[in-house]
């Protein structure tokens, strides 16, 4: 049984996608071309909710200087002032406007996330698909590499890497991308393996198409949803992990990001002075971003794997029947 990978705590990774299966009743399954998938996505409440949040965030990132003008690092008032009309989220332990920091810091946090997601996904595609496509010795070697990097705990490695390398924004992105790729690679490898044995791929290979064409034109489109899902997961990972590194003081503490706000909150003992506004908002923003991405991922899971869908078909009455007893219910005259 192809396992659904557990949702990794704290970080959102998509489940291993196999083809929709396990339909005891024997109906042929409709395929899921991209168009159909997109239509279903826009109809799904969770996706819409997640998507809205993301769009709002993109908006904030784009117009940050307009929404919260001024120098985020400037000292504007007394330290640790609670929220007021003038400073919507109060002031930090060093007298900076938390709201301005939050809005302007969104750029660093979210963009880092996006880049990390991109790097991890691209690397994952390259390694995963190569392993899945060629199989044999290539696959064995790459699989070992993948698994080794999956098993080595990420955080200590990240910490040491970030400590040794120069403190630039690029370092963080690079380092995170390099630790994030194995998860994607594994998923893509699994899917490539299963897609590869399909007839149309064999047909293309026999027909003499070049390897690249086969990979990109035949195999990749089928994995579009998985790649998209990995990308979203990678972005979520990037956002959370970046915050973690900044929190440890490993990032560039002279920039403003959600993570650095938290770093200063911890270092200025904001918690111990009751200044909840110094750490609550950035954490909520990070969570919101990660949550919306995960939500979309989770919904895509549900759409492509009908078994996981929360059972809404048949209405509430039927649901109660199924809960009460495992025996097939008798509902006369059900239309």
């Amino acid at each position: 049984m192809e396992a659904n990978e557990p949702r990794i705590p704290g970080v959102t990774a998509p489940s291993v996608k196999t083809r929709p299966d396990n339909n005891n009743i024997g109906l042929p399954h409709p395929k899921y071309p991209l168009r159909d998938l997109i239509r279903k996505l826009t109809q799904n409440k969770k996706v819409v909710a997640g998507g809205t949040i993301l769009v709002a965030m993109v908006f904030v990132v784009a117009f940050a200087p307009l929404i919260a003008p001024g120098d985020p690092m400037a000292f504007v008032a007394q330290a640790n002032q609670p929220p007021s009309a003038e400073h919507l989220l109060g002031t930090s332990g060093q007298g900076q406007d938390v709201f301005v920091q939050l809005i302007r810091g969104s750029r660093v946090s979210l963009l880092t996330g996006v880049f990390v997601g991109l790097i991890a996904t691209i690397l994952g595609i390259i390694v995963g698909m190569t392993a899945g496509y060629f199989g044999g010795a290539v696959d064995n070697i790459l699989s070992v590499v993948m698994n080794v990097f999956l098993v080595i705990p990420g955080l200590p490695l990240l910490v040491v890497l970030a400590a040794f390398l120069p403190r630039t924004p690029a370092t963080i992105v690079l380092v995170l991308g390099l630790t994030g790729w194995p998860g994607t690679a594994r998923v893509l490898r699994a899917q490539t393996l299963s897609v590869r044995t399909k007839e149309y791929v064999s047909a293309a290979i026999v027909g003499g198409e070049s390897i690249f064409r086969v990979i990109f034109a035949e195999i990749l489109p089928n994995m579009a949803s998985i790649v998209a899902s990995s990308l979203l997961g990678g972005i979520a990972f990037g956002i959370v992990a970046e915050a973690g590194l900044e929190f440890l003081g490993l990032g560039d503490t002279s920039r403003v990001s959600w993570g650095t706000i938290l770093y200063w909150a911890q270092n200025n003992a904001g918690l111990l002075t009751g200044a909840w506004w110094t750490f609550l908002p950035p954490g909520l923003c990070i969570a919101l971003a990660a949550f919306s991405l995960t939500l979309i991922n989770y919904s895509v899971d549900e759409i492509t794997n009908p078994a996981l869908r929360s059972q809404r078909s048949g209405g509430a009455i039927l649901r109660k029947l199924y809960l009460r007893s495992r025996a097939t219910p008798v509902v006369p005259n059900e239309k």
Binding site: G26, G314, T328, V330
Partner: protein, 321 residues
């Protein structure tokens, strides 16, 4: 039909479930009965609803399926009205089930001995040792060494697994054993062997069999009566000898022509053109009409009723109205 020896009576059974493409009526008004000690064959293409019936009799059909009409009467008891406790004692003890793929119906993490034990201990008061003896006994009867009690399913060959499943199904000596394509996954030689073994067991233990298959040839020598299903309905039903001798429904004719007769004369294999219908939107009128060589205008609009054309020979076809 004599009522004293009737053990199962299904009347106008309807089963529906909601798929993504709308409600699908998998079983649409099916009625038949099974007598004591009888082998009753149910034949049809995949998707016609025969497996659904098998699982419905035990009410183990998975959501989102619902039974929307009809009745299932087992020896004066209404299965559709049973409570969970009643079902728990009814299942396996009175009616047991053999699935097509033994590998799938066995839990891969539990030894086959323990899986048989489970059943014995759930339904009887035997202690572990007695239960184990009984399990070993059943395995011997199907030709498996008792030390295989400690084997896991993946350690057995396909044929042995199927025998083990059959042993499990008979361990409580049920009144009726439902066998859903029990030999389909096996090669022809093993198939024949197992069928013979089943017949032996049947005569010695004395249970009835509801034998479900898409392969009509298996039923011909094996069952007393046969019902042919198509698209959720029974289209013809009679004694097997009668059916082979004088099939009425065009679909039955097609099925009979679709397999080579090993012993008989050489015939041209015809097969039935077309594919089974989409059950979420079955054809109007007679469901078989799009594939029927003898379809008439009427067949497109009016659904034929199952009628007793000759004694104990039922057909649903406008050709004979």
């Amino acid at each position: 039909m004599k009522n004293e020896s009737q053990i199962l009576a299904i009347r106008d059974l309807r089963v529906r479930y909601n798929s993504e493409r709308g409600p699908v009526t998998a079983v649409d008004g099916v009625s038949f009965s099974i007598m004591q000690g009888e082998v009753f064959g149910l034949a049809g293409e995949s998707g016609c609803g025969k497996s659904t019936i098998a699982q419905t009799i035990l009410r183990v059909l998975r959501p989102p399926a619902v039974i929307t009409g009809g009745s299932i009467e087992f020896r004066d008891r209404q299965v559709l009205e049973m409570t969970d406790e009643e079902l728990a004692s009814f299942r396996w003890r009175e009616v047991s089930l053999v699935f097509q793929s033994a590998m799938n119906s066995l839990n891969p993490l539990i030894t086959i001995g323990d899986q048989i034990l489970d059943v014995i201990q759930a339904h009887t008061d035997r202690n572990k040792r007695d239960a184990r003896e009984r399990a070993a006994e059943m395995l011997k009867r199907v030709g498996i060494e008792p030390d295989r009690l400690r084997s896991y399913p993946h350690e057995l060959s396909g044929g042995m697994r199927q025998r083990a499943v059959i042993a499990m199904a008979l361990s409580l000596e049920p009144t009726l054993a439902i066998m859903d394509e029990p030999t389909t996954a096996l090669d022809v030689l093993v198939q024949r062997q197992i069928l013979e073994e089943i017949e032996e067991l049947r005569t010695s233990i004395g249970f009835s069999i509801l034998f479900i298959t898409h392969d009509l040839s298996l039923l011909v020598g094996f069952s007393q009566r046969i019902a042919i299903m198509y698209a959720g309905q029974i289209v013809e039903m009679s004694y097997s000898s009668e059916l082979v001798r004088e099939p009425f429904h065009p679909y039955t004719l097609g099925l009979l022509d679709s397999f080579p007769s090993v012993n008989g004369e050489r015939r041209k294999l015809i097969g039935i053109p077309g594919t089974p219908p989409d059950m979420s939107a079955p054809p109007g009128g007679c469901r078989f009409h799009p594939r029927c060589a003898k379809a008439m205008e009427r067949c497109r609009f009016v659904a034929p009723q199952l009628r007793e054309l000759k004694p104990d020979h039922w057909v649903a076809c406008h050709l004979y109205d």
